[in-house]
Symmetry: C2
Subunit: 322 residues, 2 copies
């Protein structure tokens, strides 16, 4: 099959399209004919330097996928050949920048009927991150105020929509006219971070999708009994003791944990079933900023690393027709 292979650790140029063997699904996997994939920050980080234990190139990135089931493992029930599905392939196996990918069947769900393959592929990894952050960690409640730092990014724009769909008031930070307007379209009140301080005790939940010093702003921003959730490793620990006076909590969300630690990975299939319903009800949509082909993934990585993407970058898996 054709795949965009990461041939070494390094810049975007290490990715090149090659002919490689089709993956063999295990007994609990499905083999998916990939129609579309998507780009996430974790692709770029995985490409830059060793991560995830001893995994070494050559390897195939791409941790979002929408496609059609080609083969079903012997122990899999609930799915059949020909089903249209979407999922986030495991971070520690070969991914979806390819014509086929093998995926743990517990982590997949039926593709939202109203979404194209591209629209569906833009969703899984980022929406699972946002869902776990808001529902599993912060346990948001209707009527609460949720502040999303980086509201126009991949995870951020889903977080705004999930919190709004659940009945929360949403504040979002952004720093350009275009991204501020985008967050408002999704239902958030916006805070232009170029104006300086964000504020103290303005939200029940602060979701840090940016990292660095924003993490400290998130600690300041939460109310009594507040919950800070962060998804960006490398946050500074200097201000954590401020949480005592507010009886607050800090949650460290990593969506890869469920599969890598075999900690209820089926919950991610369930999240995608719930999200498919929100998509089909018109309550959530992926904003596709740009679409690429397998041959253009180096360009897609460059765009992802520019930090100027509104929503998601998608890869159409173009096939050479027989």
């Amino acid at each position: 099959m054709r795949a965009a292979v990461m041939t070494d650790f390094g810049g975007p140029e290490v990715i090149e399209v090659q002919e490689v063997a089709k993956p063999t699904p295990g007994p609990t996997d499905v083999l998916i004919e990939v129609r579309a994939a998507a780009i996430n920050p974790v692709d770029c980080k995985t490409r830059q330097a060793p991560r995830w234990g001893d995994r070494k190139p050559p390897m195939i990135l791409g941790f979002d996928c929408a496609g059609v089931i080609e083969e079903v493992g012997a122990e899999v029930s609930g799915f059949s050949v020909g089903d249209e599905v979407y999922c986030s392939p495991a971070l520690v196996r070969d991914g979806a920048y390819a014509e086929y990918v093998a995926v743990d069947a517990r982590t997949i769900a039926a593709k939202p009927a109203s979404a194209s393959f591209e629209e569906a592929a833009a969703v899984p990894l980022a929406v699972i991150t946002a869902w776990e952050a808001l529902h599993h960690h912060a346990r948001i409640q209707p009527g609460e105020t949720v502040l999303v730092f980086g509201g126009a990014g991949g995870v951020g724009h889903f977080a705004i929509q999930l919190a709004r769909a659940f009945g929360c008031k949403v504040l979002a930070t952004a720093g350009r006219e275009q991204t501020l307007a985008f967050c408002r379209e999704l239902g958030a009140e916006t805070i232009d971070y170029r104006n300086g301080e964000i504020g103290e005790r303005i939200a029940d939940v602060a979701f840090d999708c940016v990292g660095g010093t924003v993490f400290s702003q998130a600690i300041d921003a939460v109310n009594v009994n507040g919950r800070v959730v962060t998804i960006v490793p490398g946050v500074p620990g200097d201000d954590i003791n401020k949480c005592f006076g507010k009886n607050a909590s800090i949650h460290f969300e990593f969506m890869g944990s469920a599969v890598m630690n075999d900690a209820a990975p089926e919950s991610q299939g369930e999240i995608l079933r719930n999200v498919a319903e929100l998509i089909d009800n018109g309550q959530l949509r992926a904003n596709i900023f740009k679409t690429y082909t397998l041959d253009q993934i180096a360009d897609a990585h460059q765009q992802q690393e520019s930090q100027r993407t509104v929503g998601k970058l998608v890869v159409t898996v173009d096939r050479e027709l027989a």
Copy 2:
């Protein structure tokens, strides 16, 4: 009335018994004739230096109380003169080292019928801290493993019993033969911290009642999806990023927050009602290490600050009979 008054910030010697005016309860308060109080680390910290905004001596410490209702505020329902009750008086008002104390009626509960006033007074502040840590923050589940750092202390010994009563497996750290044996009596498996490392991924919940570098041990000790709860301000932030790989959370418990921020203080009355049931069912008891009189509170503070108290120090409020 007689009260042990903190006359200045400083050492235990700043506390002296004086004749002072009886407090006047507000419309939402009850006035309690104090029969027993207890000592907590927060008394000593409040005595040492300014804290809690601009509160200044003279002030009366003592944030645990059991006694008899002497007067009921005009807006209070559910309590009558003569009721035997127990509670944790607010950290920001005069406390229970005195013959009388005025307390927000939402935060009190009927004294456990099976407990003496001394036994009841030993419970509130520490048990509310342990309950909020384990149930509100960590949301312990039956069958989970809870590791209590400092299992023989005031909060720690209640935490062991609460977690056991809820169906958890409990590990506890201690560092002397006496305290190790005490923790085992309460139903914990023990870890002697003098032996060095505590371990990695050995518990679902790690409850840090010690602070300092123990906080970092608590981060190491939790499993995937683990919850660390700490109650000791001044914890180091160096290791918090280790939480990402485990999708873990850190909770900063401060039992004073509910009253000081008017954030559902009635939940603390409810906790004490639940705990009274556990006490009357024989599932929880306070270990009273030593009992003092009002005149001996300086000694009690010295013992509290020795860090060698097993369970609680109690104050019998001795009355000059008319």
